[in-house]
Every structure is written in C-alpha cells, then in structure tokens.
C-alpha cells in the first residue's frame, strides 16, 4: 500500500485526502515533523501560500521537508503547493522549498473575478481533456532544462510540469471527481522504479 502525506496546515487538504483514497492510495495528514515518517510521497494542497509557508516554519516542517526533497522524495504541489515548490518567485512570493527549477508568478490572472475553469489536453493523461479549475492561480513563467511541461493553456502558458519526482499544477485536480492526475502521481511519480 502506498501512503501519501497531505500537508494539512491550511487549504483544501480534505479534498486531496479523499482523491488519494479514491485513487487506491492511503492518505495521512501532515501537521508536524513526526507526521512525515513512513510516507511514500507528499501532496501540498491549494490554500494561501503565504499562510502555509509561515505555518511550515512555526511547525518545524520547513527544514525536514527541504532535506527530504533534496533526497528525491516525491512531492506534488497544486496551486499554492506549486508556489512552495518553485525555485524562482515574483517579488511577492516567500521562498519555501526552492526545489523545482521553475519561475512562478502568483495571482497571475488577477483577482477572484478572473478565476476560471477550462478543459485542458494533457498528453500524459490521454483522452478525454482534463477539466481544470484555476482559482486566483499562479502560472509558470520560466522552466529549467530538467523540467518537462505537462500542460499548457491555449495561449501556450505552462500550467503543469514535472521534474524528476516533483510535480506541479497551477490548477486543482482535487476539486473535480476526475482522479486521473492523482493516479498519475501515484503510478508514475511515487511508484516509479
């Protein structure tokens, strides 16, 4: 059985936990360093990135997580989670794990009135298109040579990417009943040989 930790400091961690369980994994909530033991991977949910990074510091999770990620621990960040994974942020961002070689701009589409949903073609998931929900979402502005872009908006903006055992999406697969992205994380990122 594969056990996935879901960072449960703030945000929509319950939806991720339920999606992991629908996808055949076991989910465990992570609030303190001890909760990291025995995990095969971690999901950083959507939420407010500034809130989550501050709580990571006060909970003593930032340093242990940086070390784990440095050793190749699988991590998937959605929206706020993508911001926490990024090496490069716009001036408003607070550096957190600095693990993934992507440049990320927060609130890239504007305020809540500009939040949207759209169907995306994502080759690694196959057909049909994936219904993606963007909420005050960030975008990927730059990608390093090790990074593979998994999905783009119609205008070419990258919104999902993988680098080794790190996965990032600007949108929220946990808010839809479609479990393909969670299964992709379990089967092709966490359990990868």
């Amino acid at each position: 059985m594969t056990t996935i930790g879901v960072l449960a400091l703030q945000g929509d961690f319950r939806e991720h936990r339920e999606a992991v369980e629908r996808s055949g994994g076991t989910a465990a909530e992570v609030r303190l360093p001890n909760d990291l033991e025995g995990l095969d991977g971690l999901i950083i949910p959507g939420g407010e990135s500034t809130t989550i990074v501050r709580l990571m510091r006060t909970s003593g999770l930032l340093e242990p997580l940086r070390k784990l990620v440095g050793r190749g621990f699988p991590v998937w960040g959605t929206c706020a989670g993508m911001i926490l994974l990024a090496k490069h942020l716009d001036a408003t961002g607070i550096p957190a794990l600095e693990a993934m070689d992507i440049g990320v701009r927060r609130n890239a589409f504007g305020r809540q009135a500009d939040s949207f949903e759209v169907d995306l073609r994502i080759p690694v998931l196959g057909d049909p298109p994936f219904h993606a929900i963007f909420i005050r979402a960030p975008v990927i502005e730059a990608v390093g040579p090790e990074v593979e872009v998994l999905a783009r908006l119609a205008d070419g903006t990258p919104v999902a990417a993988r680098q080794g055992r790190l996965l990032a999406t600007a949108f929220h697969p946990e808010l839809t009943p479609d479990s393909r992205f969670h299964r992709f994380f379990l089967d092709h990122v966490v359990r990868r040989a």
């Binding site: 449960a8 400091l9 703030q10 945000g11 929509d12 961690f13 319950r14 939806e15 609030r31 303190l32 959507g46 939420g47 407010e48 500034t50 809130t51 501050r54 709580l55 006060t58 909970s59 929206c79 706020a80 408003t92 927060r106 609130n107 504007g110 305020r111 809540q112 009135a113 500009d114 939040s115 949207f116 949903e117 759209v118 929900i133 963007f134 909420i135 005050r136 119609a154 929220h172 808010l175």
Partner: protein, 293 residues
C-alpha cells in the same frame, strides 16, 4: 474558458479552509494580518466593537479604504455590504474585492429580502444562526457560510450556539427516510433540493466558517473542534493588547486545533484580550445576529 462559475466561487472558499480571516481597517493592520498568517482579510472602516460603540447607521466602507488595503497585501481581500443592498455589492464587485460579506454587522438596507447573489461574478459569504438560514442563503447564491455569533462582543457563546445549531441539525437530518424530507424542508424553511443534498452528503454544500466573538486561540480551536472549516476574527485581534502576537497565536491554534500541548504553548503571554460583553445583559435591539432571517 468560463469565469464566475459556482465551482470557482465555492472553490476560493475551499482554499481558505483551515485558515483565519481577519478584520482590518488600515493597510498597516492588513500587513500585520498577512504576516501573522491570515488566509484573507476583511477590509472595514471600523471593527464591529467600534461599530457597536459608534451607533447610527453602519454602511459599506469608503472605496479608498478598500483600495488601500488591496494594495497592501497579496492575500484575498473581502469587504462587507449591508443585507439587501445590492448596489453596495455592485460597487464592491467593481472595486475588485475577492469576496463580499452580506453582513448583519452593518445596518440592513432591506428587512424582507437578501441580495440575489447568483447575479454576481464575485462570490458572497453570508451569516446564519441555524441550518435553515444557511440553506436559504445558499439558495440565493451564497458560496460560503459563516455562523453569525455576536460580533464585537469578544464573547464566543453565540458562535458556539450557532455552530451547534447548524452542525446538530445536519446530524439529525442523516438517515431520515425520503418521505420525511419535504416536511423537514418545511420545518427548516429551506429549499427542498438543498435539504436532500445535505441529508445525502452529511455536510453543507459550501464551506462553513465561524464568526462573531472569537477572541482567543482557545476560542478558535473550540470552534474548529465543534466542526467548522475556519475562523473569522473581527474585533478580537486589533482590540487586544498585542495584535500581532494574538493574530499569530490564533492562526496556529486554528491549524493545530486538536493538539492541546501546542494550544497551551501559543496561549502563553499574549497580554490582555479584548474586553468582552455579556450577551445576556444586552438589550434585544443591541443584538446584531437577529438582523436578516
């Protein structure tokens, strides 16, 4: 590409879960709140305790105040309009706030009708005292609910009463046979389809925060243990002796709400909490929670 859908309205509230939304009246307050870990701020001209003290008609804040607070932080900014005042709501939408609170803390503009919230792109949060009131507001388009409590009192008793009323009613609905749900909708004075949905899922169809009287880390954790999704703190932070420390402590208490060791640690040395009011000694016309229906 579709904007302003029910999914993205409810979705922003889902991103706020497990967090603390703080009332602020200046850009400096907003920065203190953001640095303490608030997941959003409510931009106001006065906190509820001062609205109470000032008396008279309380209205939407001056757009200058809201604009200045929007410039100061990167987290979502909410603002309040009067119950039923759909033009204040149109103005707040034009200002680009992220959420509108149709709030009993301001003086109602319409005692019969709340705003038809489905007509807006911006999402709304509304107060409630029981399950029927929550479902009536959701029926009108509220994409987030908060229990009302009694704002500006620093007394958590009404917040507890309202959260227990909502969550207890949801538990009692579970397992009712289908032929009793219409009568239950009639008793609750709530839309039938929403009653059916709550019976089936065991939860409200939108995120439910607690508000009105939360003043300490223990108050926040109490509401979380009762089963709400997050916390609004109004006067409790900026009417206390050390707002930054209290704000940080309430944020940590909301995350670690089941861990009494951490709650003890973050409750230490916060200085004076806001002076509270005994709700039982207040006159009926002084109560804000009875505004709206």
């Amino acid at each position: 590409m579709e904007k302003g859908t029910w999914t993205v309205k409810v979705g922003l509230a889902q991103m706020l879960k497990g967090g603390v939304i703080m009332d602020v009246v200046t850009p400096d307050h907003a920065k203190i709140a953001e640095e303490a870990g608030a997941c959003a701020v409510m931009a106001l001209e006065r906190v509820p305790a001062d609205i109470r003290a000032a008396g008279g008609v309380a209205r939407m804040a001056d757009p200058t105040v809201i604009e200045a607070i929007k410039q100061a932080v990167t987290i979502p900014v909410m603002a309040k309009c009067r119950i039923g005042h759909f033009v204040e709501a149109q103005i707040l939408e034009a200002l680009g706030v992220d959420y509108i609170d149709e709030s009993e803390v301001l003086t109602p503009a319409d005692e019969e009708h709340h705003i038809y919230k489905h007509a807006f792109t911006v999402p709304f949060v509304c107060g409630c005292r029981d399950l029927g009131e929550a479902l009536r507001r959701i029926g009108e388009g509220a994409a987030m609910i908060r229990t009302k409590g009694e704002a500006g009192t620093g007394n958590v008793v009404e917040a507890v009463r309202h959260a227990r009323a909502v969550l207890g009613a949801i538990r009692r609905l579970q397992g009712l046979p289908p032929d009793e749900l219409m009568a239950e909708a009639k008793n609750l004075r709530a839309p039938y389809e929403l009653v059916v949905e709550v019976e089936r899922t065991g939860r409200l169809p939108v995120v439910n925060f607690a508000a009105g009287g939360i003043a300490t880390p223990a108050d926040a954790a109490l509401m979380m243990q009762l089963g709400v999704d997050g916390i609004f703190v109004g006067s409790g932070i900026f009417k206390s002796a050390d707002p930054a420390a209290r704000a940080r402590a309430i944020v940590q208490a909301t995350t670690h709400f089941k861990d009494a060791t951490i709650l003890a640690e973050v409750s230490r040395g916060l200085g004076e909490a806001m002076t509270g009011l005994d709700v039982r000694s207040m006159k009926p016309e002084e109560l804000l929670a009875t505004r709206g229906w």
